[in-house]
Symmetry: C2
Subunit: 364 residues, 2 copies
């Protein structure tokens, strides 16, 4: 059994974020004590300052900065909102509670801080992510959507009431949810040597039923479409902390490809964050070429699919030759297909034939 | 601790369904042996044969029947498709595998049975539900979407590889998924005296963090919007087998009301089934009247909301005076609000004030 190498990392992360929030507050107080207007300088998130980094294989912010100062009347409102938000999430961490974007929006009203709508409060939280340099999940603001995991990984909880308790993630064959408790858990031990990420619930259940976790030593993750941010963070941890390779299976269409890509390289609007990507994760299928090679039942690409493929073709994240080739094949055959299409050859075909062939190919 | 009263029921259900499928096959064979055209008679699902039953508090089918006979060339295709589908799901039960609607559509191609699209195969599965009298989950065709549960309930698995293994559903604070394994599990023991069903992930997490399961002896269920059928079946089992009252919390708008109503009284297109409803479950909030009584932050109803409220007003499932009154209040104040709106009074307000007041009111 493999032991987790950096099991302490999340606990440390919370401490670091708490410290950074406190430093932010101390800085404002010091400004006031010195008789100067409180202000904060942070990286600009304007599109002109977003660049694709070949090295990090994700979008990043450039060097342009903006200063938000209480000297400027136009800045007073967002600055005040940001200071309150920093206070609020600091309380969340201290009290070990979690929240959501929607919840933060309403909570502000308890403090007579008003946002005109949720997009205003969401934007301030993104400012705070930029200033602190960590995703909102690290200050306990979690997404509404949830996905699930199944496999031989023993974790240890750090959330109140569960501190020190352990669970093996193969305890429940339908999968356990990836929420705040799992996000902050320590990784203790695993016998797995890979992670298989699956877009569809049907295939996740098929992989559990066909004992992929045992026969392929895999931890299985179900994303339920586009992976929620906390799931992308969890996948990154499995890759970084346990050194496990990540294989992503999606439908063979531009939307499936992009589910894989967002796990691998993130999105442009998270260019201010580097903790949500897993650049070494691999899109393992279903490829456009698989539609031909495995003679899979398919549907015709529609106009929206084709428009999207053209966008992806020009996207720097898709610069690699494998991605480019798959996009070209999609365009040529004008077909797409779903993970379930393998059932055309019987329910177990995908696990007994396709999966081992693909893993062998990718591991080579 | 309370022990489950009818812990064996799901195992028996699978046996019953398997037997019914076999009887269906034997009937076709007997028809052929007798030299007559194989045929099946079943209740008509045409809208003229769908009625609301005050007694069952759900839509049911009337006495009109249809006969599908191989004597009629126009019936040959759907009859053949239905026989194959019955064979396929019988195999699923025998091999203890599960599938989805999408998967059944593709699997047919492995047997040279063709459906022109998924709606055709979905329809045949509904025919089979009608003929057998049990929901498709009972013959292992599960929904793609999943929801979650958390609370003190010990279950015992019956799925392959897990037979006899037990799990307490409070083992994972993010919740465990309600999928095939949980649907077929036996209920062993619980200390809970109620079930609280919640539409939103944020509130589910809040209820876990604020220890509602402990302080209110509740099993918590997260539906993620409209409850998937397997979740409705699971809620019914908690009510019927364990005798637990069910309280449903949704947003205060017509869509939230209807999430509660579908759990309580089902939908018109499941009029052929009686195992998916929980007529004694209660919509516990957020009511239109709560927006006024608790002075909650609200949004204006839009045209779609108002149109929907008018439909619900005329819907026989909403005949009860409490529903009618709430619809009238919505119409009058022209406002809606979300579960998260309680955060306006602090994160714990909903659990510390609203929840106990509402439960007291409903239990009175």
């Amino acid at each position: 059994l493999q032991s987790a190498r950096k099991g302490q990392s999340t606990t440390n992360l919370k401490d670091i974020v708490q410290k950074k929030l406190e430093m932010l507050g101390e800085k404002f107080c010091a400004d006031i004590d010195r008789g100067s207007f409180p202000a904060i300088r942070m990286k600009s998130r304007s599109t002109s300052n977003i660049f694709y980094s070949q090295e990090l294989r994700q979008y990043v912010l450039g060097d342009a900065t903006i200063t938000r100062s209480s000297r400027n009347i136009a800045h007073l409102r967002p600055l005040t909102q940001m200071i309150w938000t920093a206070y609020f999430v600091h309380e969340l961490i201290k009290q070990k509670k979690t929240s959501t974007l929607r919840d933060v929006y309403y909570s502000a009203q308890a403090y007579d801080i008003f946002f005109k709508d949720q997009s205003e409060s969401d934007n301030i939280i993104t400012d705070l992510e930029t200033a602190i340099g960590h995703p909102r999940e690290s200050f306990n603001v979690f997404p509404e959507e949830r996905s699930a995991v199944f496999g031989d990984l023993t974790i240890e909880y750090t959330v109140p009431g569960y501190e020190g308790r352990r669970l093996n993630l193969s305890s429940h064959p339908d999968g356990v949810m990836i929420g705040p408790a799992l996000t902050d858990a320590k990784f203790i031990e695993t016998s797995a040597d890979k992670v298989i990420v699956i877009e569809k619930g049907a295939m996740f259940t098929r992989f559990v039923e066909e004992k992929v976790y045992e026969n392929f030593n895999a931890i299985l993750i179900y994303t339920a479409g586009q992976a929620p941010r906390s799931t992308r963070y969890f996948i990154r941890r499995l890759n970084r902390e346990l050194g496990l390779p990540i294989y992503i299976f999606t439908d063979a269409d531009p939307w499936g490809m992009h589910i894989a890509m967002v796990i691998i390289s993130g999105s442009a609007n998270a260019a201010h964050l580097t903790e949500l990507t897993t650049p070494d994760a691999k899109w393992a299928g279903v490829w456009a070429s698989d539609i031909i090679d495995y003679n899979l039942p398919s549907d015709r690409l529609n106009d929206r699919d084709i428009k999207r493929l053209k966008e992806l073709k020009a996207d720097p994240r898709y610069g690699d030759s494998h991605w480019q080739r798959q996009i070209d094949i999609f365009m040529k055959i004008k077909k797409k297909c779903e993970l379930e299409a393998f059932s055309r050859y019987g329910l177990t075909h995908i696990v007994e034939k396709y999966l081992p062939e693909r893993l062998k190919e990718l591991e080579a």
